[in-house]
Symmetry: C2
Subunit: 482 residues, 2 copies
């Protein structure tokens, strides 16, 4: 008998799940990359320019030296006993590694930790949060995770019983949310960010979508907010955040705050405020609002995607619910210790007076200032293309321009059985090697079309990205002109 | 309005899931550990002896030097440019780190990788598998994971549609399987390992349980085997493995082979054979049997639990099914790169002639020989306790003795609303500080009671573990004598 496994009898939730960031365009780009290696010169470009994924170090961003020094020392603590180490590593990296090893039971960086992560590292993360927000934070509330994604999955797994459980998500959204909701069999309840006001969030729309979902028998359990926004790049104003917090409290919703871009702020007149800080500043405490904040080592100026570190801070959950969260965490034993250490470092970077401070600050500022310049250059370039309109990237790592496509292009896409923006993105890739993600992967107002383009290509390559994009777009528009 | 979240309205699959390894006894041990710190002298022992979890480095096992040298160099590649590095690191560690960085695109250990893991590392793992088995292996079949657990979850997520989908699991089993099946809403179909023949697997029992499940309308989709066994420590004979492979082929089952203890072999006359090697030696190829082998950096002589590295090798799945597995992997982006590198190292350790070979071999042999001595000492000690019978630990990291408890003890457990073995384990912990996991967390023949005890305490501490255990047991038996 042949195995009884076939696509038709796999878990339908898996079949339903989609993840555009690593979807069709990205897979096609991998194929073209291989073709460039095996048959150089066979394509109209000589390299693939990845603008599809927030993966800075894959595009030559260097890691922050201090962080890597500490990681290396913790990976191989024998180094701390050697004299030569003092000439190879900065004194504060050595000191920090000693501090970290001292709080790890048995100095064992190769042991499973507590399922929430090493307690001393959670203490230092809590201290970092408290210093960021000006409100207390507690190691007991921190769950260290392999990047932010597993934390999101954990919360979806906890909250979703069946397709009648709904999660309010922004549209456009980062497809981790739609994928996780699909994998756990729930319903995504969309609310629309308003492109015309720079991707603003209107409480009246939130309210309308909630009521509409409830009238369809959906038990809406949580609200996802992404601030700074992905793919939209906006930073919420404080007043707006207060309204969101009030709304969640009034409607009995868990607030799931994706705050992984908290360090990626590119405009002077806006700052990041965590939702916990906002809630506490309104006088809301543990009993008022279940709130989860997700943070990751993958974003910010550090961009340490490959280390898979992150945490969630959970407040406002009862002890029996926390026990269930702990249980799910414990089934996976613990997150990786290197990522745990790195999460404690990004929340407690070198301070003025430390030996590494000047070089750390120069590296950090260099990265963030360059990202701001790249964001502005790409935004301006998009706004100069026929049919493109592009909001400012106030934060995060993306631009999400809207394209108005000619009717002929829409028909050609239809004939090719693709969404018009996916059709455009594939043509762009095949002509230029530039990889972007079609807006349809994130959700968009029906009848509108977008692309998500990261601001991450090396600064020296931005002019080439812009000129290749422009040449392609002009040819595309000429080909499909109405 | 207060939040509408309460334990009663959480996902019932989460509520149902149990994970004994980090369950009640382990949580109580954490509390006692805190008490020892805050109120020294308040308990009848002065340290907690963790025999509950396969976490060698938490019990002072040292990491293998060569592996950690390579990890430190890959974490901070700038070291490779410095002259002092040559006196701090072995030449082959430097060479290996250079090799690894050369196969990582952009030498970026801080970038997300391909969702299956870095291709060059998968190539080297495939080469390691091929050299172990004598049959070809392919990078395309390897999915690197954060330890073995996420791979198991991925397969359960893929295969389980609802409670009518069953997975055949050994009893006793490692509770990751029962937990994962519960979280994904399927049915665990038990088959019993035969304690009287050293935890042997009888195909006739497998067949009987399969038919019984089918008669109850269960669609049995896969068979889990753990070899060497956890918690049972047995190593399957080749003939037995052939029968298992044939059974899966004949019954159309996916074979999920947990092979994470492949390096933990303690008796001279048995060797590890992977199920893939067995299948290929029987002439079965890709079309005959869907087979998944799970491996981890957490076990073996390396014991690098905190690094969360591992892989699954999947063969015999059609392209459309593989696409679905790839999609699930891609939703979590990739596993951590440090763990990926370590997985490639354990499958390709230093070879005779390499500078580190002698020290590597001494470290490896030292650990494995000591584990074998500890296993034997504990086995003998258990077999000398009244009411205990204990099979040999042929492999893995555990002993799973059966205890015949007096009727009075069983009644006392009932009064305390605990399973008798859980009652015994808690009393043992409170009297001695020794933490073991009750057999009820793994499953056992109804009416029998067991404990899982790791063989991992430092060798110098084994006599103390044994004498404390013996004193407790004698007092316990005296207290509850029938």
């Amino acid at each position: 008998m042949a195995a009884n496994i076939a696509v038709e009898n796999l878990n339908p939730k898996v079949l339903k799940c989609e993840y555009a960031v690593r979807g069709e365009t990205a897979i096609h780009a991998q194929r073209l990359q291989e073709q460039l290696q095996t048959q150089p010169g066979s394509l109209p470009f000589d390299e693939i320019l990845y603008c599809n994924i927030g993966n800075p170090q894959s595009l030559s961003q260097l890691p922050v030296t201090f962080f890597r020094e500490v990681l290396a020392l913790c990976d191989h603590p024998c180094l701390l006993e050697k004299e030569e180490t003092k000439s190879l590593f900065s004194a504060d990296a050595i000191f920090r590694a000693e501090q970290i090893l001292a709080i790890i039971p048995g100095r064992a960086t190769g042991a499973y930790s507590h399922s929430q992560g090493i307690e001393g590292l959670r203490d230092s993360i809590a201290a970092g949060i408290a210093s960021r927000d000006g409100y207390p934070a507690n190691a007991y509330d921190i769950f260290l995770t392999n990047g932010a994604s597993p934390g999101v999955h954990m919360m979806m797994q906890l909250l979703i019983r069946n397709e009648k459980d709904g999660i309010l998500c922004p549209i456009p959204q980062y497809p981790l949310y739609s994928a996780s909701i699909a994998l756990h069999g729930g319903s995504l309840v969309p609310y629309y960010l308003d492109e015309s006001t720079g991707w603003g969030l209107e409480i009246s729309d939130l309210k309308k979508q909630l009521e509409d979902a409830r009238s369809r028998g959906i038990d809406v359990r949580a609200l996802v907010v992404i601030n700074p926004g992905n793919p939209t790049g906006q930073i919420f104003a404080k007043d707006n955040q207060c309204d969101i917090v009030k709304f969640c409290k009034n409607e009995g919703l868990v607030l799931l705050a994706d705050e992984v871009y908290q360090e990626n702020i590119y405009i002077g007149n806006k700052t990041f405020n965590s939702f916990k800080k906002i809630a506490r500043s309104m006088g809301y405490g543990e009993d008022d609002l279940p709130l989860v904040s997700f943070q990751s080592v993958s974003k910010g100026y550090y961009g340490e995607c490959g280390k898979r570190g992150g945490y969630m801070e959970i407040t406002g959950f009862s002890a029996p619910i926390r026990e269930q969260i702990y249980k799910i965490a414990s089934v996976n034993l613990c997150s990786n210790i290197t990522g745990q250490i790195l999460a404690s470092l990004i929340m407690n970077p070198p301070k003025a007076g430390d030996e590494s401070y000047a070089s750390y600050k120069a590296e950090k500022d260099g990265i963030l200032q360059s990202l701001a310049r790249r964001a502005k250059a790409l935004e301006d370039a998009f706004n100069n293309l026929e049919g493109f309109t592009c909001n400012k990237a106030e934060g995060a790592m993306y631009l999400f321009p809207q394209i108005k496509l000619p009717q002929k292009a829409i028909e050609a896409a239809k004939a090719a059985k693709k969404a018009p923006d996916a059709f455009y993105a594939l043509r762009l890739l095949e002509s230029t090697g530039i990889v972007v993600v079609p807006g349809s992967g994130f959700g968009q107002v029906p009848g509108t079309w977008h692309l998500r383009c990261t601001i991450l290509p090396q600064e020296a390559k931005i002019p080439a990205v812009i000129s290749r994009f422009k040449a392609f777009h002009e040819a595309f528009m000429a080909e499909y002109h109405d």
